[in-house]
Symmetry: C2
Subunit: 231 residues, 2 copies
């Protein structure tokens, strides 16, 4: 089912200690999609400093701290905007998970920005990958909604907000505008399911085939829930 | 089968127009592995400027050109070293593909660096994803070796060096030190197969399960060869 007006303005929210594939799985598919349909990407963070997949480096986060520590196995992605100077016309937010979600101060700017963007009423979708749904849960936006998350971290995620209808056995869950996925790699299936919803199944399959990706097409088929004792 | 001495020093070679997931699929798995075994990552490029997934921006590449164009849907990763100042003890090189491989001048530094590192004799493995094998083929290192590549681009890849024994129907191919994978997402299966070879199948499965990734375990099972008329 294709939407009447597909969104064009996509924002990715980064924090130190984000999980690399949570962002890069969906973005790689969207990079390819952007050659077929008009899409604009904003990568948002607290400052314009590169954001590292490593949360804590010598006691400091990368945002305002050292960018390229020699002692970590990490990568850094460059933001295009700060939260303060974010475009006003964002229609889709993508929120990753990662170990950085465990630090309240670290994710506070993400929570604040998401609440504010949601309140303004222009968002058509919020997509989360992995423990990104724990961040979204902390905004209150998921209250009473169905959602899933990383299965290895599921107990912790549930403890962040019991008002959410957490679904353990799901590759991803779509509840209206809110699309949450299971751990890390599940974000790739989420983005193809979302592309199928917004554009078409044919567009999603063409991009997945171009990426030589074998989609997991059943949102309810999730062996990792049992693997990590989430059910 | 675990290697006697697993490598610790890994280098990723970046050029403008690299395919994001070619790098981030393998690196996300290695990020997790690095929490269990000693691993050091160097991200190499011509300069220390961030390297964009977009090859050509206003007629200029990002290396020496504008880093964050407003008109493209792209992402930039920050190098840790230039090719000139690369560590001398690299044991593994990872080479991505992407549209930037089609520009001879753009990939010339990658070819030169790879040939030089190979000649020094310290490399235990070279891993390529997608059309990264076309770059490796241009070094001559793949001459007479079995290799695969992106199936949508397979005719172009084969034309780059007919002395390589190109294998059309393969998710990935391991020929001694040289591990080549099929398009984009196949790099994720490549890295898990490689982790299984160097450390163990158990380590590979634990990391894949943590990522909630459904591995494609059969190197010869490849429906994309027929999908893209490579066979």
């Amino acid at each position: 089912m294709a939407s009447a007006t597909p969104p064009t303005n996509i924002g990715v929210l980064l924090f130190p200690g984000f999980q690399l594939l949570d962002i890069c799985g969906p973005l790689d598919a969207l990079n390819t999609l952007s050659k077929q349909v008009p899409l604009h990407l904003s990568i948002l963070a607290s400052t314009l400093d590169p954001v590292s997949t490593s949360h804590n480096q010598g006691g400091k986060t990368t945002q305002g701290g050292p960018a390229f520590p020699d002692s970590n196995f990490s990568q850094s992605i460059v933001p295009t905007h700060t939260f303060k100077d974010a475009p006003k016309d964002l229609e889709v937010l993508i929120i990753p998970g990662g170990f950085g979600t465990r630090d309240e101060a670290n994710i506070a700017p993400i929570i604040e920005f998401t609440k504010s963007a949601w309140a303004e009423g222009n968002l058509k979708y919020i997509l989360t990958v992995c423990t990104g749904s724990a961040i979204l849960a902390k905004t209150g936006i998921l209250d009473g909604k169905r959602a899933t998350s990383n299965k290895k971290a599921f107990e912790w995620v549930k403890s962040q907000n019991p008002k959410v209808e957490w679904v353990a056995k799901a590759r991803w869950v779509a509840d209206g505008k809110l699309w949450t996925s299971s751990g890390i790699s599940a974000g790739i299936d989420l983005i193809y399911a979302w592309i199928a919803e917004v554009w078409s199944e044919e567009v999603a399959d063409y991009i997945a085939d171009s990426s030589e990706y074998e989609r997991n097409r059943d949102a309810g088929d999730d062996r990792f829930a049992a693997r990590w004792n989430a059910v």
